[in-house]
Amino acid sequence: MPQRRILPGLPLSLGVTLVYVTLIIALPVAAVLLKAMSLSLGEFWNIVTSPRALSTYRITILCALAATLFNAIFGFAFAWVLVRYDFPGKRLLDTLVDVPFALPTAVAGVTLTALFAKNGWFGAPLASIGIEVAYTPLGIIIAMIFTSLPFIVRTVQPVLEELDPEFEDAASCLGAGDLDTMRRVILPLLMPALLAGISFAFVRCLGEFGAIIFIAGNQPLSTEITSLLAFIRVEEFDYPGAAAIATVMLLASLTILILTSLAQSWYGRHLTRS
């Protein structure tokens, strides 16, 4: 039976929302695509597949993969420790998770650079054993790890809290070892959350700018990230170039968003079936 709407305010709230979303979010995104479409396909292709652009995709994607892999493991362990164990300082550790989110990326950038520079607190001892971090891809990875850590911890943590102890008990009664239980029972149940966290962290690594540019070295063809190349094109007043690179970044974000939501709904169906 169709229900009559009792609550007021739909026209006003929805109207405000639609106008705002159109002007503030949709219009600028459309403007990037429009600008890129003013290029011919050949011009667009030449810009986005230039050796310098290709090298930025390579370094950005590889570093983002490395940082996300690290955070998938470390973030999972972090969430696990916060949910499963009680120990002194737990509250503090829990609060520290949010620091990378609350601290402006530019501040994180200059601070990590100072720490890992050759005369920095960490850079000096590392240099003495021959490891250079600042101005190398390793620096990019560390900046990405720093900024994307909270996303994986905070997506896994609530699901881990809700996990029914019965599952593990049952598995252990049936003779499964801890590793088996982890692999066959816990991980599959956490997978949708872990996947969402991993994909979001990866997207954020791909687009990150402020935390990375200070520590990256920014050498074209070696340590230049894609968002910096777009920024440089703007500074050079090469607007078609900036539009093309920004379009690639935009499409990458959208593709990952769509793939993630497809994967999650597939996994949801798969889980209910089995």
Binding site: K35, W80, V99, P104, A114, L115, R154, S227
Partner: protein
């Protein structure tokens, strides 16, 4: 007998807690200490001297003005969006939510470039703005607009799940008993969402103060004019003025610490704990 759970062995427990604590100490706690240490490297006198330079004070002022405009606008937007999406059924609700959350996944650089193509000289409205002598890019309006884009989801994202969980019965009861729409919102809805709303506002505010990439494209980066605080940190750092850069950074760190304390207190009041976008 207590149920047996994975990872309860003493050794596993100690190893995991130890590893996580050590990495967190080096990766997260050390940078916070480093900011203070570098800022105070020349003593308290030089710290305050660098903090009180005209350019730094101007950057603080510009960041405060930006937040005072952008945060209330996105708060009102967040309330409107959450009300529409959580209290009513209409086709495209999920799609609308996805669009609102889009800025979480878009690089701040892309956001800055996008606004350039709307309001810049080469942009959609560029010729018209120029003809009417309205300056948006490389000025305060551009900085505010870029900030509005990156923080558009913050309040809405906080309120939508809460309002959905609360359902519609209480408001419907208010309306049936003869309250006006505004009274119902003010007396019934708002008290029920105040902590989540405050949480969203605080996260939104932190991000407005911290936004760097998008603002660096639309601000034009003019010293003492269109430099927000994070841009000013960059400028001083590139001038090799380490004490000045970290003194300015310490102000941003103070805002971050305030944000974390507020977040912690609100989570104890039962607000859903999570990071931006998760």
């Amino acid at each position: 007998m207590a149920t047996k759970r994975v990872g309860d062995q003493k050794l596993v427990r100690r190893l995991l807690i130890g590893a996580v604590a050590i990495i967190a100490l080096f990766l997260i706690a050390a940078p916070l200490l480093a900011i203070l240490s570098y800022a105070l490297a020349g003593g308290a006198g030089r710290y305050f001297e660098s903090l009180l330079t005209e350019d730094t004070l101007h950057a603080v002022k510009l960041s405060v003005i930006t937040a005072l405009i952008a945060v209330p606008i996105n708060t009102l937007f967040g309330i409107a969006a959450a009300w529409a999406i959580a209290k009513f059924d209409f086709p495209g609700r999920r799609f609308l939510t996805a669009i609102i959350e889009l800025p979480y996944s878009i690089s701040p650089i892309v956001a800055g470039v996008a606004y350039l193509f709307v309001f810049g000289a080469q942009g959609l409205f560029g010729p018209w703005l120029q003809a009417n002598d309205i300056k948006i890019m490389f000025a305060l309006p551009g900085i505010v607009l870029a900030s509005l884009f990156v923080t558009a989801p913050f309040v809405a994202r906080e309120l939508i799940p809460l309002l959905e969980a609360q359902g519609r019965e209480r408001e419907e009861a208010g309306i049936s008993l003869g309250a006006s729409g505004f009274q119902t919102f003010w007396r019934i809805s708002l008290p029920g969402m105040r902590w989540a709303l405050l949480y969203g506002i605080i996260l939104c505010n932190a991000r407005v103060f911290g936004e760097f990439g998008a603002v660096s494209i639309v601000s034009g980066n003019v010293r003492g004019e269109t430099n927000t605080l994070p841009l000013h940190v960059e400028l001083l750092y590139q001038d090799h003025n380490s004490v000045g850069a970290f003194a300015a950074a310490s102000v941003l760190m103070l805002i971050a610490v305030f944000t974390l304390v507020a977040k912690f207190l609100l989570e104890r009041r039962g607000v859903r704990r999570h990071a931006e976008g998760t």
